[in-house]
């Protein structure tokens, strides 16, 4: 069901836990589906011994993909017109991520109603790993 402008107000939120105890296997699953086989995201030997990171870490786009579910569960299927993010901290195996969409504005343009959302994803320490915004078409 599409959201209705008449039932939304600025400050409304929708939150979900998008992953609990992120597994290395899920990161590999994402590599396989997306086609991004950067060793930084699955090859612990390369990542710790050559690239000097403490461990492999998730693709930024996996975090964006996980977070996309919170947005689409809120606004409905196929209604997004814009979704943009900034990756602010890395996501590691074992992380638990909570994502939140907050209504910034409900507006009308050329007879079409839209909702603008702020999007934020935090890890188990409350540290923001990704922040951004999205816009979706909604019903009047």
């Amino acid at each position: 069901m599409a959201l209705k402008a008449s039932s939304l107000k600025v400050g409304d939120t929708h939150s979900e836990r998008v992953v609990e105890n992120l597994s290395r296997t899920q990161i590999v699953q994402y590599a396989g589906a997306s086609g991004d086989y950067n060793p930084l995201h699955h090859d612990e030997v390369y990542t710790t011994q050559v690239a000097d990171y403490p461990s492999i870490f998730a693709h930024g786009m996996l975090t964006m993909g996980l977070t996309g579910k919170v947005v689409t569960d809120f606004v409905g299927d196929g209604t997004l017109t814009r979704f943009g993010v900034r990756f602010t901290n890395q996501v590691w195996p074992g992380d638990t991520l909570d994502a939140k969409a907050t209504v910034l504005a409900v507006r009308e343009k050329a007879g079409q109603h839209y909702v603008d959302l702020a999007v934020s994803t935090v890890n188990q320490d409350g540290k923001e790993v990704m922040s951004g915004s999205a816009t979706a078409r909604i019903d009047p």
């Binding site: 994402y30 090859d43 000097d52 996309g68 997004l80």
Partner: protein
């Protein structure tokens, strides 16, 4: 850059949705998807990134007969520090004119955008590179535009 042909397939959408932990039937169940406002299976918002599968020269996929910079017998298959080891994804922005469906055949073209630098305490000199990617459908219509920003760090990001 060369144009890439990206055929959008239902099984690929299903695998991608599984990888991002999204069980929404609109991504895998044709009958259930028909009853939604989307009217049929669509791809998740971040699926366009899977165009990498169809880029014949994609540098982050091992290719037969070519050295791979990940580990094998040694921590890296390439002598010295591989050029891509310091590159991270900084920003990603989608603009959707419509959402992708199985059966779409996209033509995808990427252009370099702006380049800028910034000094950071956690990783030294940062070089940001913007890339603009346009996805057009089988009718020539622009369906999705992506603005992506990659950052090359002087040294690995300090976790302190």
């Amino acid at each position: 850059m060369a144009k890439i042909t990206f055929p959008v397939e239902a099984s690929h959408i299903m695998m991608f949705a599984r990888a991002i932990g999204d069980t929404n039937p609109v991504y895998h169940d044709a009958a259930a998807a028909k009853e939604t406002e989307a009217g049929g299976i669509i791809a998740p918002p971040t699926f366009p990134q899977a165009v990498a599968q169809f880029d014949p020269d994609y540098h982050l996929r091992p290719k037969p007969g070519q050295k791979w910079f990940g580990s094998g017998k040694t921590p890296s298959g390439i002598e010295g520090k591989p050029p891509s080891s310091g590159s991270l994804h900084a920003e990603h922005h989608y603009e959707y004119h419509r959402h992708l469906r199985p059966g779409d055949v996209l033509t995808v073209e990427t252009h370099p955008g702006e380049v800028w630098e910034k000094e950071s305490k956690r990783a030294g000199k940062l070089t940001f590179r913007e890339r603009i990617t346009e996805y057009r459908d089988q009718f020539g219509a622009l369906v999705i535009t992506v603005r992506s920003v990659g950052v090359t760090t002087e040294r690995p990001v300090d976790q302190g």
